[in-house]
């Protein structure tokens, strides 16, 4: 999976969950930068990511993420592990 594919997928999930078609994610973005990205919506985003990419996050992993870049890296790592 290439970075553009990964980001396209994440973009679509964020847009759907937050109901905002203007969202374009960049690696340095945090919850502060995206309107509506609160703790409840974060759960929805995580659940949708798990469904779409066929991965499962651990409880602790979800808490350590600082920005979109780290989230994307974690997804990339999980997808790769799942394919091994």
């Amino acid at each position: 999976m290439t970075d553009p594919e990964l980001y396209a997928g994440l973009n679509e999930i964020f847009r759907q969950v937050l109901d905002d078609d203007t969202i374009t994610l960049t690696p340095s973005m945090t919850a502060e930068d995206v309107e509506g990205w609160d703790s409840m919506n974060h759960i929805f985003i995580v659940v949708e990511i798990e469904k779409r990419f066929g991965v499962k996050f651990q409880a602790a992993e979800m808490e350590e993420l600082k920005n979109v870049g780290e989230l994307a890296a974690l997804v990339r790592e999980k997808v790769a592990a799942a394919r091994r």
């Binding site: 759907q16 969950v17 109901d19 703790s39 409840m40 759960i43 929805f44 659940v47 949708e48 469904k51 996050f57 651990q58 409880a59 979800m62 808490e63």
Partner: protein
Amino acid sequence: MRGPELHWLPRQATWSQALASAVPGEAAWPALCALARSRIDALETRTLDRKRQRLVPEAPPGLVAPPIRLAVLASSTVDHLLPAIRVGGLRRDLWIETYTPDYGQYTQALMDPASPLHAFRPTAVLFALDSHHLLAGIEPGGDPTEIERRITQIGDDLAAQWARARQAFRCQVIQQTLLPVFDPLFGSNEHRLPGSQYWAVQQLNATLRQLADAEGVDLLALDAVVASDGLAAWHDPALWHRAKQEVHPSAAPGYGDRVARLLAAALGRSSKALVLDLDNTLWGGVIGDDGMEGIKLGQGSALGEAFVTFQRYARDLSRRGVILAVCSKNDEANAIEPFEKHPEMVLKRSDIACFVANWTDKAANLREIAARLNIGLDSLVFADDNPAERAIVRRELPMVAVPELPEDPTLWPGTLAAAGYFESLRLTKEDLERSGQYQANLRRGGLMASATDLDGYLRSLDMRAIWSRFDRVGQARTVQLINKTNQFNLTTRRVTDEEIAALIDDERALTLQIRLTDTFGDNGIIAIVIGMFEPGTGDIRIDTWLMSCRVLGRRMEEETLNLVVRQARALGAERLIGVYRPTAKNGMVRAHYQKLGFTPNGTPADDDGTEWVLALDGWTELPTAIVSEAVAR
């Protein structure tokens, strides 16, 4: 295991485009209702709910039932479930508004009349309490008797909360059963370990079932849902730790749909009839081509046994009050033959209240079936193995529920059960006798067609109207009838159990329930009337008058008026005031009071209804062929 998704609903390939193209206006609500009747996941459900909030921010006019205000009382996070509850309503044409106090605050909110909960004035209250909260303090190793006592106490405390909610709001109360989120400590014989939380969940759920029956509370049986879907589909410990969500967000659509079913059932909006296709639905093969020996049914093949099991499920549904009908493209003689002669048929001709087999299109036949059974098209569920037929019926008759049956008939009973079309809250004697009543009605219809003069026919029926005021024995049936009758219903006013209980004790109220028997059997309770004195006058205002459509054309209206007048006179009334409030479904009774000799009243009612007057002085009873008798006490 099918998981928590709404697998009985059809997928719609163009769902997203259809949602995007929905625009404000009168067409928005029906368009959104149709979109809710698709197999949508949690995210789509949320998107649909948001769109509804934008396009239809207020309850639209012409709803099938009054708007519902549901209070969800919770001890952990439930906000993620609320959109799905509202969409569950949308799927049933019901407007549901939700309110939830801050979690953990539900007890205070219930007790404080100044709380926002009281200001919300809920028409239904759902106790959605999580297992950790309810079983706090239950631990293994303690004194077994003390643990028993505590579990009993938890149940009693809950019952006290229910009573508080009912007293404050006089409304439906729903209690969610506990999710089995704990792991066993002992193993298969966990019940031998007092204080095991795993076992305590089961004990408390059993206690809740008894208490709910005693208190008239309805259960949302999450434990039963999890038993079929698997706990992992409904609960993720990681999300519990992180967000205190006991129910997984992905399970929200299934959760919301089940809550909406209970609300719909209380309003009499559950489906009433199961209409069955024949070839490849009740048996394998085509009776017209394969013949009696060729169709697959019964012992000898797995497929044949699957059809027997499906027939048995349908028959058992009819035993609890669901009406069965047949709608098949066939020559009638061919279609009926297996019902009469095939030894493996579970369903007999006498189980089918309405049998339609011809070459007309199925949508037209379903209309005919609804008309003959005297029920609305939105009360029908149509089971057909053929995806093309299903699609046509859905397009022509979007109000008919058409389950998406999987290819394997083995799965069909589970599909119908999961869809919850026939969700019911109380079993009445009438439910158990209903299929027999419809049978007798069809025979009466046959007699009517053969009788040349109506009066002679009516006399030959030997009809008896057995009447009484409202009483405790009939209370459940009274509430059920009032809340589900849509067509012959002058005001479509709905009631709660408590309101009827109050009327039973009110000697100044005019209340009447009438049972009709005839040569073919007992029709059950077929008429309900409620009247109250207008304060300070001799006028009794009839705020409820409804009848079963099964007994139309038999001058039962006239006989009911005779009984109303007798009771009104006994109460000292001088005039009756009749009210008609139009709805989408009760056009048939627009001229009801006029036909009975009432005159239009000068002052119209407070809305778009009409008011009618009958002076009792000198009024003489109307002639009928019905003999009335009071219930012997």
